[in-house]
Every structure is written in C-alpha cells, then in structure tokens.
Amino acid sequence: MDGKHIVIVGAGPAGLAASSVLPRLGYRVTMIDRSNTLGGHLSKWYQLFPDRAAATVLLEQLTDEVPDSVSTMLGREVTGGSVSSGAVELTLDHGEHLSANGLIMATGFDLFDARRKEEYGYGIYDNVFTQAEIEEMFRQGQIETRHHRKPRSIAFLHCVGSRDLKAGVAYCSKVCCVTGVKQAIELRELLPDAAIYNFYMDLRMFGRGFEELYQQAQERYNIRFVRGRISEAAESSDGSVIIKAEDTLTSRPLKLTVDMLVLLTGMQPAAGSLELAAKLGLVLGDDSFLKPYGLTQQTFKTSYPHVVLAGSCTGPTTLTEAILSGRSAAMALHESLFKLTN
C-alpha cells in the first residue's frame, strides 16, 4: 500500500470507529479533536439506553480498537481549509496546516442551548436542569437540587429545542425520548418515593428495546406520563418550579410544582461546523446539518470522492448509528480512493 494520508475531524464515536478501520487498510491516519479527551459526547454519559450498559465500557472498547499508528491530536480545532481534486488542505486553530489525500468529517453535534427557551427558565431559575447535567449527577452518584436537597418530585420535558419552529428547529432529535425514559427509571432507583413525570408530545420509541423500556417505566417504575407540552415555568419562593401544561388526554389545564425540572434538549450541528462546511465547499441541509449525497443510499458520500461524512454531523443519531456510519464511511472512502488510483 502507498500509505495515503487520511484526516478524521472529530474523535467521537463516529471518528473513533472510522480510525479503527483505515490503518488496517494501509492508510496513514491523523485524528483531530478540539476537546482534550477522546469519545465526544459518549465521554459525558453514564449508562446507555436501552440496556443501561456502562458508557465507560463502550468508550474503552472504541479507543482500544484504534491502532497505535493513528496519530491523535487532542485540544486542536480544525477551523478552515480547502478541498481540491484528490487533495485536502486543513487549517488548525494555531495556524498549522495539514495536507491529506482523504477527509472524514465526524464533527458530531452540540446540545441545544436551553437558555434560548426563556419560558422554561433555564439559567434563570435555580432548579431547571438539562438531561446532560442529570447524566453528570448520575456519574457522581448524587441527585440533588441546587440547594443540596433530595428532590421529592421531578418533571422531564421532551422536545426542548427540537420540533420547535420558534427555535428554528423543525426536526426531531430522535434520542431524547428514550433518554428521558431511561433517566426517569434511573432516578426512580435512587429516589424510591419521588414523583416522576415525563411531559411529551409524542413518544418516539423507534429502536430495539425502546418501547419495552417505556412499558417498564409505566409498570415497574411508576413513572407518570403526561401527554402535553409544558407551556411555561415559574419559580416559587422555596426554589421549586411551577409548571403549566394541558393534559391533552383529559382536555384539562394542569398545574404542577416540582423540585426539579429537567429539559430534554435536542441536537444541533456542532459549533463552527457551518463555517467549516462553507470553507470546504460542503453542502448543508435545511436543518443545517451536513448533507450527504443521498438519504437512503450513499449516506456517507459528498460531492467530493475523497471526502466522506460520519456520525451525527449529518443529523441526530444513536451511538449504534454513529459507530456503524464511522466504519461505513471509512470503507466508502477506501473504495473511492481505490477507484481514483486504479
């Protein structure tokens, strides 16, 4: 093999999966991530849906599979570059340049900034949290309100910054429904006596084992599901949160006071990825995620034969999908580089 150089931008699950494939096919691989740790968002989660597998174990498996020959640059951001026929030039944040024969974009997603939905009071009221903060509390093994008290009641709100035209987001973020159900169950185990609610518009339990998890949440874990979107939240003098919704199934307005309100925030393209896409000449969809050649077939391909897309930079994905697409994108890149030279 001629040792062509491939750069992978992003060392999340998708980037890691891609980097485990390419060296074995004879490529020289550089993987860059602006964070100081490997694993992207996976490194922030505690237990995974639907089977509550430990996130640390998966992360370890993914990093173990990366051959030593991969050169990993952490704490470095790709800020610009250009793509020409057969070559890719990338610029990093410290002004360095990298040349490559092929590029894998695995820049992933960012969580929607919950402060943008002011009516829910995130960043204003003490006891409004995001699901990412709850994952962190699980990792620390301690669930408590901002005033260090054990919560007696907790409400999850689905679809925050997803399916919301007012927030400029039309799409569904796909994983937050099952995450909300998973977290409700995990909370129940830590707080046997608490009242736990999920306020939803639709419950999208598409994956294997997801609907079963929902059923367990109802039957075994006594989670109360309310079909209605919370319209607004207010803070009471003791720091609890008063929420308003309609229970659409009984057609009655509803008021509830909870010790914690947890917002299930959606996914959006990673910061800077729009600018980077513009510089590299990559196409964005109406949802601002990178747009592949096809949505059914060729979901890794771009208009350049030597640039491919992997993971949630193309829209909300599960880990399963991110990992599979990382491997598939690597193979797709190999095929087209092989075709280019043979």
Binding site: R163, L165, K166, M201, D202, G228, E246, S251
Partner: protein
C-alpha cells in the same frame, strides 16, 4: 330506587361520512399554518379563557379537522383574543387569528 322510562341518548360519535369537510378546504384557502398543529396543548395550557371554563383551543383545532363546525362556532365565542396561544405554539400556529375567523362563522351561521 330505580327509575324507569325513556332516556334520550346523545350520539357522541364523529360521523366522518357525514362531516362537512368542505369547510376545512375553504379554511385552508383563507388561512395558512393551522394544518401544522400537532395537538401539544401548549395553547390550552397558557390560554386566558381556558383557565376559567371548559374552553380549549387545542380541542377547537381538532374539531375543525373533524368538520364539527357547530361545536367550533360555539367554542370560539369564549376566546378573548389575547394572543398568548401564539407565543407558545411550537408549530407557529396563529390560533388567535383562527378564533377570530371562527367568531365570524358564528355571526354568519346564527344571526
């Protein structure tokens, strides 16, 4: 004591075979956006009038789709046109404007 006698049974069934859905089409020509409603209930939760009685703007949205115009007209009277529903709708539906339109329906069909 058991009471005997006749009782009038009100048929609650929505008869989609008989419902007048032509008005839905007419409405679609007049106003846009309401078709996007997903029945989330945010409007009903925040509605000024809903807090005080049985009025429910989400339900009105649903009755429209089912061609239940009599009920739509009866309900719309209660709207106070405050516009709060518009602020909270995730699908950017102008419920207030719809209600305004349905109030006219009332005056036309029941002089």
């Amino acid at each position: 004591m058991k009471s005997f006698g006749f009782q009038k049974i009100v048929d609650r069934q929505i008869d989609l075979d008989k419902a007048d859905l032509s008005l839905v089409q007419a409405l679609a020509r007049e106003l846009t956006g309401w078709q996007r409603c997903i029945g989330c209930g945010s409007c009903s939760a925040t509605c000024t009038a809903a807090g005080m009685g049985s009025f429910n703007p989400r339900k009105v949205q649903m009755l429209v789709r089912m061609g239940q115009w009599d009920q739509v007209a009866q309900e719309a009277v209660h709207c106070q046109l405050c516009g709060k529903c518009r602020l909270v709708c995730p699908r950017d539906v102008d419920t207030r404007q719809l209600m305004l339109e349905f109030k006219k329906l009332q005056t036309i069909s029941r002089p």
